[in-house]
């Protein structure tokens, strides 16, 4: 959160980038990349999310680190939930589906 007034050019530029990435991710889904389809889709999604968070939500221009820490901490905690759960699910013997 800042007093920074960003230029409309920057906002439109980010908007174009987001649209392009959306089209790319939809098109790439139809190309067989094996297991990398998922990786590519998530990478693109993360790029889009970063653009929204850094520019539309002004995090890039935040005057203090606290906001960034809140975001990083929340994502880190979510990853804790996902990864430690996988510690169980990834090591069970029974395989499903």
């Amino acid at each position: 959160m800042s007093e920074h007034v960003l230029s409309t050019k920057l906002y439109y530029g980010i908007w174009i980038a987001l649209m392009v990435l959306t089209v790319v991710t939809a098109r790439i889904a139809f190309i067989d990349l094996g297991p990398f389809n998922t990786v590519v889709a998530l990478v693109i999604a993360t790029c889009k999310a970063l653009l929204v968070v850094l520019f539309f939500m002004h995090v890039k221009y935040a005057s203090e680190k606290l906001v960034k820490m809140v975001i990083v901490a929340s994502i880190f905690w979510l990853l804790l939930l996902l990864l430690l759960s996988l510690a169980d699910y990834g090591t069970r013997y029974a395989r499903h589906g």
Partner: protein, 232 residues
């Protein structure tokens, strides 16, 4: 989010327990960011369920994903991105005291939001017609017929659609709340309440809206693009 009386963009009276307007603004902003952190964990629980079941039932997830309309999904993603643009431009308009522009942008944002919900409704209705709503009337035989190359267990297919409805439903609920919030902001913008001295509610409303957009940015590939490779 609302504060005490204000006139034509000259900020509210400073709430009694804050010493400066900047402290009040910083507090509101931090408060909204912390709330968004809780929302990450709230949606996160469902992402955890999604992760586990996608690993277990990939075929059923892939089939279910293919049954979603990729055009509508992509259009909806674009609609939300456009709405994020209008929100960001709206915050900027408020910062610069451009009341009419702010009002226009808020109206556009609401229109985009309602459009998203409308398209979502169309998609859900399609799922209803195809008997893909989990429960007694669920029927995955169309998927089994359409994808003979992969083995689909109809019971497990219900897990995919349970998650589909839970995740898009919760997201839609957040959109509805967002549209309500922005209607409130629109009303007060029309009365000239926000300007360079005081635009905090627009800013933190915007943060909420962008967050809901980010959730969709992840939901789109995870629900619609699981496996769209051409089948051999």
């Amino acid at each position: 989010m609302s504060d005490s009386t204000a006139t034509s963009g000259h900020g509210p009276e400073l709430l009694h327990h804050f010493s400066t307007a900047e402290q009040q603004r910083d507090a509101a902003s931090l408060g909204m960011w912390l709330f968004l952190g809780t929302e990450i964990m709230f949606f996160g629980g469902m992402f955890c369920a999604y992760l586990i079941y996608r690993l277990w039932y990939f075929n059923e997830f892939a089939a279910g994903s293919r049954s979603l309309d990729i055009w509508l999904g992509t259009i909806n993603t674009i609609v939300l991105i456009c709405s994020s643009l209008t929100v960001a431009l709206g915050v900027r308009a408020a910062q610069m005291g451009k009341r009419k522009l702010l009002v226009t942008l808020l109206v556009l944002t609401i229109i985009f939001g309602v459009a998203f919900l409308g398209i979502k409704g169309v998609e859900w209705y399609a799922k209803y017609k195809e008997h893909h709503i989990p429960g007694a009337s669920f029927d995955a035989s169309d998927l089994i017929r359409d994808y003979p190359q992969i083995h689909i267990d109809p019971a497990h297919e219900q897990i995919y659609f349970s998650l589909y409805f839970a995740m898009t439903g919760l997201h839609a609920l957040h959109m509805i709340i967002g549209v309500g919030m922005f209607t409130y902001l629109l009303y007060h913008s029309m009365k000239g309440r926000y300007g360079p001295e005081y635009y905090t509610p627009i800013e933190i409303g915007g943060l909420y809206w962008h967050f809901v957009d980010v959730v969709w940015i992840y939901l789109f590939p995870l629900l619609y693009l699981i496996d769209r490779k051409p089948l051999g």
